[in-house]
Each structure stands twice: as C-alpha cells, then as structure tokens.
C-alpha cells in the first residue's frame, strides 16, 4: 500500500468531534431562532459530513480525480435545488383587479 494508514488518534478525534456536533445540533434546535434554526441544523450537518469525508473517507489524502468526484454529487444537487427554488421563490401571487 503506497499510502500510510491513518493514525488511531485522528479517528478517535473525528469520532469525538462528531459526538460533540451531534450534541450541539440537538441543543441548538431547542432554542427559538427562527430561520437560523434550519441554518444551524444544516451548517452543523455540513460540518459533520466534512469530518466524515475528510477523515473517515480519507479525502484529505486522495488524488484530484477523487476529490472532484466527491464534489460533483453535491455540486449538481446544489444546481437542482437552486434553480428549482429560483422558480418557486419568484412566483408572484395572481392579482385580480
């Protein structure tokens, strides 16, 4: 194997970080923050996903094609959601005179 196995320490730290983020997201959800609730939930989920991607899935040490492949799924999902919302959010209610 050309690549070095990751250290045990890194894995344990990653798990601790995930546990902390899980506690944080449940904690934050208990406060009335309006739209910030959804934002916080997604932001923390994003952080968790990044921890899994970079440490468990070893994106940290992967080559360029693999990193690209990892981004593509998320990027295309972003396109789908963004342009679909572009329609739904700009619909104007019908006014009858």
């Amino acid at each position: 194997m050309s690549e070095k196995p990751p250290s045990l320490r890194a894995h344990v730290l990653a798990l601790l970080a995930l546990a902390f983020l899980l506690a944080a997201t449940v904690f934050v959800a208990r406060f009335h923050l309006g739209a910030l609730n959804a934002f916080a939930g997604l932001a923390i989920a994003g952080l968790k996903a990044l921890v899994v991607l970079f440490f468990f899935m070893k994106l940290k040490t992967s080559g360029t094609p693999v990193r690209f492949a990892a981004c593509f799924g998320f990027a295309w999902l972003a396109i789908l959601i963004a342009l679909t919302l572009g329609d739904f959010l700009t619909r104007t209610p019908l006014v009858v005179h």
């Binding site: 894995h11 939930g41 968790k48 468990f56 899935m57 992967s62 492949a69 959010l89």
Partner: protein, 214 residues
C-alpha cells in the same frame, strides 16, 4: 510492494492502476447516490418552503431521543468501519473481522430502532397510503412531510440493509485472509459506501427530526 502479492485483472497493467480504478469508480458511484437522495432533499426543500408550519408540526411527530440515538449509532459505526480498514492496512485480520461484524451489528441496531419508530408511527396513524388519520388544519400538507419522511428513510434503510450484508461478507472474507495491506480495494469501497450512508443520515437528522423543536 510486489506485483505477485495482488491479483490483477487482465485489463489492468498493474495493481496500482487497478486500485486507482476501483477507488475512482466507487467515488463516481457515490456521486450518483448523492443525486438519488438529492431528489428527495430537493422535494423536501420546496415542500417545506410551501408549508413551513406543516413541516414543523410533522417533524414533532418523529421521536427525537430515538433519532438522536440512531444518529449516534451510525456515527459510531462509521468510526468502527474506519478502524477495521486501518487494522487491515496494518496487516491485521482477526480484530478487523470483528470490527466489521461490530459495524454490521450497529447497522442492525439502527434498523431495529427505526423499526420501533415505524411501529409507533403506525399506532399513531401517520403513515400516508397505509394508515393516516391526521385531522386538523395542517393534515393535508403534513401528509407531504410524512411521504417524504418515509420514502427517504425507507430508501436509506434499504441502503443500510445492503451495507449490513456487504459488511458481513467482508468480515467473513477478512477472516478467511482474502485481503492484504496491499490489496483490499473491496474493503475500502465497502467502507466508503457505509460512510456515505452515514452522511445521508447526517442530513436526514436535522431536516426531519429537529424542525420545530424549540
């Protein structure tokens, strides 16, 4: 690393090329998986914007303590499978096999807890198409929440089930000595798949369990 220590399929020049292809292939497959689930997340986004209160109300039907435990279970299982892979890379076999079994067990625990949730949902009659007895102002729009909830969690559960089977097969093969530190693409790919299943759940959790909890 010697070429003899790995089996190279005839279309490849060497083991490095074979490994590179396997890893890239898996990541490409994961990208398509993200888009499979992505449709459900996109539908969720639109419907939640159209019916914010119904979604908050629907979300309060889910079981937050159980959901939190499920998340913890899956996160831990990602950890154990990563450890298993590390052990194989260090030349281990027995511990690695047990770690794969442990990961699969966590997967089964996840499915079992989810089964408990589904049962409670059935008792509460909030399963559209099967037993749905919600009334009140938000009932029709809440149905959208539940449909998306079930399609997403069932599709995710299907992935967990496939993962558990894969993990058990891998545990067995590790024990039989089928892999070496130089040659374990199949294990790596199984682990990658399992991590992705985890990532999907990481997003499911705040979107379906944590709305309207304040």
């Amino acid at each position: 690393m010697t070429a003899e220590s790995t089996r190279v399929a005839e279309q490849f020049d060497d083991a490095a090329q074979q490994r590179e292809a396997a890893t890239l292939g898996m990541w490409a497959f994961l990208a398509t998986e993200i888009l499979f689930f992505g449709v459900l997340f996109a539908a969720y986004t639109v419907c939640r914007l159209l019916w914010p209160d119904a979604f908050a109300s629907g979300s309060r039907h889910t079981d937050l303590p159980l959901g939190t435990v499920e998340t913890a279970v899956l996160l831990t299982s990602s950890f154990t499978v990563a450890l298993a892979l590390r052990d194989v890379q260090l030349g281990g076999r027995r511990v690695a096999a047990w770690l794969f079994v442990a990961t699969a067990t966590l997967g089964v625990v996840f499915l079992a807890i989810h089964g408990v949730e589904y049962h409670a949902d059935y008792e509460a009659a909030v399963i559209p198409g099967l037993r749905y007895e919600e009334v009140g102002p938000l009932a029709p729009a809440k149905q959208l929440f539940f449909i998306l909830y079930y399609v997403t969690t069932l599709f995710h559960g299907l992935h967990v089930t496939i993962g558990v089977v894969l993990l058990l097969v891998m545990a067995w093969r590790v024990r039989a000595g089928a892999f070496s530190p130089d040659d374990h693409s199949a294990l790596e790919n199984t682990a990658l798949y399992w991590h992705l299943v985890d990532i999907v759940w990481i997003f499911v959790f705040p979107l379906y369990y944590l709305v309207g909890r304040a």
